[in-house]
């Protein structure tokens, strides 16, 4: 077996648009190394520069500064047709005047592959993606999900070293989207193609990625595996953007064992996992995911919980119940799994909440974090 190829290295990648007063920095000093076969998503709110970053990798935009290297070779200003990459577009960009078969074979035809070989390669792919019965249809005669699959097949048939996706699933309905996610991931794994996937849908990012790059205002906020991003976010922004969060004010902080801090919240002393910059931060906050919070009726004379609150709202979903509590620490959301009928607390009643310290995460305040980046 040959050595795996497709290591992508982005160094100080920067793009500015316009000049003078309408100068926009779309991407600012992006540094990222993607290993061969790795699946990385760029995630962030609208306008944060995801598409621009992707288009620089593809060669559609020339970087203002910085470089894109593939397997140690600088791609420089190589035009897109000379880069061994494939792309799946948000609008699919299927050629409307060509059949499904012609669309998929286009890249091979451009490479001047022989007709029989093209037939073989395309046939195989059509088969594995269960598209063969659509081969002779025009793109506007197939459904959105099928168009999506054709676009994927077209990008993949040329065996690119890197696959680029710009929100390819955003035009599909929720069910199809979930199904396509699985399909994309399994094909990508099988072929071992390095992939960059742009999205602003966190579920998509969480379920697809080896690593997630969270961007905000042209800058990378955090790079990490989905569990790192979820459990150990770098900043309030990342915690807030990914999943749902309760932020609780901390009354005092002291260093604890390595990677932890001794804090006081709601008058109680706890030892929790902490971000390395949290201890020095002037106003650290405690992140509690709703599913880490337990809620029960405040009946017992001796309180065992961390704090108390009044139930403002209860939504019963079946497998779990979602509470909104009004507490001295502000509103707290809690998702409690599998409660018995008797355990459910009702609107207007007093409740106690609690959490286990190992499920909490201490964060530096966002203002300080941002200052360090700029």
């Amino acid at each position: 077996m040959k050595a795996k190829t497709g290591r992508l290295k982005l160094t100080n990648l920067t793009k500015e648009f316009g000049n003078g007063s309408d100068r926009v920095i779309a991407v600012n000093n992006l540094n990222l190394t993607i290993e061969p076969g790795e699946f990385v998503t760029l995630l962030g709110p609208s306008g944060c520069g995801k598409t621009t970053a992707l288009r620089m990798v593809a060669g559609f935009e020339n970087p203002t500064k910085g470089s894109v290297q593939l397997d140690g070779v600088d791609l420089g200003s190589l035009s897109p047709d000379k880069r061994p990459m494939g792309m799946v577009f948000q609008s699919y960009a299927l050629f409307p005047h060509m059949s499904v078969y012609e669309n998929i074979s286009y890249g091979l035809k451009v490479q001047k592959m022989s007709k029989t070989k093209i037939r073989e390669a395309v046939g195989e792919l059509l088969d594995s993606m269960s598209l063969e019965h659509l081969a002779n249809r025009a793109p506007n005669q197939i459904s959105g999900g099928q168009q999506q699959r054709v676009a994927l097949a077209r990008a993949m048939v040329v065996r690119p070293k890197v696959l680029l996706f710009d929100e390819p699933l955003s035009n599909l309905d929720a069910k199809l989207r979930a199904q396509m996610r699985i399909e994309i991931r399994s094909i990508q794994r099988k072929m071992g193609i390095t992939s960059i996937f742009v999205t602003h849908d966190q579920d998509e990012a969480m379920s697809l990625s080896d690593r997630i790059v969270v961007m905000r205002n042209a800058v990378v906020e955090q790079v990490g595996t989905p569990d790192e991003i979820y459990r150990k976010p770098n900043s309030v922004f990342v915690a807030d953007f990914i999943g749902r969060s309760n932020f609780i004010k901390v009354e005092s902080v002291k260093a604890g064992k390595v990677g932890t801090a001794k804090i006081v919240v709601v008058g109680k002393e706890l030892e929790v996992a902490a971000h390395e910059k949290a201890i020095a931060s002037s106003e650290p906050v405690l992140l509690l995911r709703p599913e880490s919070v337990q809620v029960y009726a405040a009946k017992k004379a001796s309180s065992t919980g961390v704090g108390q609150g009044k139930v403002k709202n209860v939504i019963f979903y079946g497998p779990h119940v979602e509470y909104t509590l009004t507490t001295n620490q502000g509103e707290i959301t809690a998702v409690v799994s599998d409660p018995t009928f008797e355990e459910i607390v009702h609107i207007g009643e007093m409740a106690e909440f609690t959490f286990s310290p190992e499920r909490a995460w201490l964060l530096p305040s966002d203002a300080e974090h941002n200052q360090e980046i700029h």
Binding site: F60, D81, K82, F89, Y92, A93, F95, G107, A155, S170
Partner: protein
């Protein structure tokens, strides 16, 4: 749910609108065409068809007509394609100005170009003789090709420009990332996607150039085409059946090509964009192709600019090229007496016809897209006849039909509308021509914009209890107002510059500018004819500007909370 192939029961407004539109089409197109047909079947008309296999002269005329159509269709489409491609794919200074220059021929009377080209490039041309020492013969095929190509290429240009702009740039990018270079993308993606536009433009230019009468009269020389032959039958031979025969001969290829064009554009409207278009066009930055395209573009635009500058200068010069002394004599002549009357009459009649044409066009569009299911294709086709039928044929048809009262079973249904002694001096028939020649532009833009609007908006209005008329007035019309006003602009420009049907219908009481321009040019008084052209272009531009202001002036009424109103 009702099957959508069958026509649902029409409400009263739809019924009235349908009857109104059909009556208009019958009176303004079908009846004159029927009369052409009737006269062409007279012995004097029939002989043209029966003798065609023997008559070398007539064969020559038919050949001339088709040859002209094919050449102008090809050259005009190519030119339009190159200029549109340059506009969309190259960044260069002066882009906007060149775009505007390319559109001038659309709003100018056709023979402005012909006359100026003679003055510049003819035997005694300012450029050919005085500058280059050449004495070419422009009259005939070469002159016609140059003038008609310059006159009609803007149609192809606009058509293709619109299509090129609507192509999703991501298609280019998809080709590019799959390894195709620029040339390959051009060959395998851009051109194939534009084929419907290219074919459509070619066929439109073919129709326009075989139908044209003004230019063959001015610059055709001995090169006779069917339109000019039909004209000679009326004005030289006084042979009405003969004129009807030649008209029918011209009508056949024109309608045939029109039908092909419709078939084409319907079958090939595959450019469906799924999702939101992404990416952007990557302009051509260097290389010989860029400079070749820029050269063609600048050459054509400079040529057009020079031609129209000649028109303007010629209107102020005593005799341009011979005696260049500045004078206002031409304008004095043109604005006083008969000339002045013609300006006034033309503007008034065009202003009357324009809103009618706009309404008729919009009504047909609305009926075709929203109301009539069965037979909507036929209604659409009938509505377009006014432009599909060559102007010469319309003019001759009107002259035959309305020179006398229209009677059914001895009762006068319509009094005499055209010729000497007609009511209102024949003005009505001219308005009718303007309406039927101009409404197709409104119909097309109306259809295009209605297709963009979700039909459920109409249905929402109906479900809230609005009648068909209220829905049309309060919902549909405001939504397609932009298209309506664009339609009006074209309608007015078209009315002001049309000649071929008018020439058969003017009377001493209703002098029309385009006919005066032709008469002056015919007499060799180019200065007067240029002055007329300048005035005509200024009027058209002014009215278009006013309509434009109206479009921009009124936005949607904004909602103000009560507190703010006080």
């Amino acid at each position: 749910m009702a099957s959508n192939r069958k026509n649902a029961k029409f409400d009263i407004f739809t019924k009235i609108a349908l009857i109104f539109v059909i009556a208009i089409i019958i009176l303004l197109v079908l009846l004159p065409l029927a009369n052409i047909f009737k006269f062409a079947m007279d012995p004097g008309g029939r002989v043209i068809f029966t003798d065609l296999p023997k008559s070398l002269v007539d064969q020559e005329i038919v050949k001339n007509t088709l040859k002209l159509g094919l050449t102008v269709g090809t050259l005009g489409t190519l030119l339009g394609f190159f200029l549109a491609y340059t506009q969309t794919r190259i960044e260069f200074k002066g882009k906007r100005i060149l775009h505007v220059i390319n559109l001038i021929p659309i709003i100018s009377p056709p023979f402005a170009l012909a006359t100026a080209v003679i003055v510049l490039f003819g035997r005694s041309g300012l450029i050919t003789r005085d500058l280059l020492g050449l004495r070419p013969t422009l009259y005939g095929y070469p002159g016609l090709v140059i003038v008609l190509t310059l006159s009609f290429f803007p149609v192809a240009y606009m058509n293709l420009l619109g299509m090129m702009k609507s192509l999703d740039p991501a298609l280019d990018e998809a080709g590019s990332i799959l390894g195709a270079n620029r040339w390959k993308i051009f060959k395998s993606i851009t051109v194939p996607l534009l084929i419907p536009g290219i074919a459509g433009s070619f066929l439109l230019l073919f129709i326009e150039s075989i139908a044209d009468l003004a230019n063959p009269l001015i610059i055709g020389g001995g090169y006779t085409v069917l339109a000019s032959r039909a004209y000679i039958s009326i004005n030289g031979d006084y042979n009405i059946p003969g004129a009807a025969g030649y008209s029918l001969l011209l009508l056949i290829p024109a309608l045939l090509v029109f039908l092909i064009q419709r078939f084409w554009s319907q079958r090939n409207s595959v450019i469906s964009v799924t999702g939101k278009p992404t990416g952007r066009i990557n302009p051509i930055k260097s290389g010989p192709i860029k400079y070749l395209l820029l050269t063609i573009t600048w050459f054509v635009s400079i040529l057009i600019a020079v031609v129209y500058l000649t028109v303007i200068m010629g209107s102020f010069a005593s005799i341009i090229g011979v005696n260049n002394a500045l004078t206002l004599e031409h304008f004095r002549y043109v604005l006083s007496g008969f000339g002045g009357d013609s300006v006034k009459t033309t503007v008034i009649l065009a202003l009357i016809a324009t809103p009618i044409a706009g309404m008729v066009g919009m009504l047909i569009a609305w009926l075709v897209i929203r109301r009539v299911k069965q037979g909507s294709q036929i209604l659409d086709f009938l509505g377009m006849l006014g432009i599909a039928v060559p102007g010469t044929v319309i003019g001759i048809g009107y002259a035959i039909t309305y020179n006398d009262a229209v009677r059914i079973a001895g009762y006068t249904i319509i009094p005499q509308l055209s010729g000497g002694g007609a009511i209102l001096g024949g003005a009505i028939v001219i308005v009718m021509v303007y309406v039927i020649r101009s409404s197709p532009a409104g119909q097309r833009s109306g259809i295009a914009s209605l297709q963009q609007i979700d039909p459920s908006i109409d249905e929402a209005s109906a479900s809230l209890g609005a009648s068909g008329f209220r829905t049309f007035r309060l919902v549909t019309l405001p939504l397609i107002r932009g298209a309506f006003l664009t339609g009006l602009m074209y309608a007015f420009a078209h009315a002001m510059t049309t000649l071929s049907p008018i020439i058969f219908l003017v009377t001493a009481d209703t002098p029309i500018m385009t006919q005066k321009i032709l008469a002056e040019a015919d007499q060799g008084r180019y200065g007067n004819s240029f002055a007329f052209c300048v005035i005509l272009i200024v009027i058209v531009l002014t009215v278009m500007g006013l309509i434009n202001l109206a479009v921009r002036g009124r936005k949607t009424t904004s909602y103000k909370p009560l507190a703010m109103v006080q």
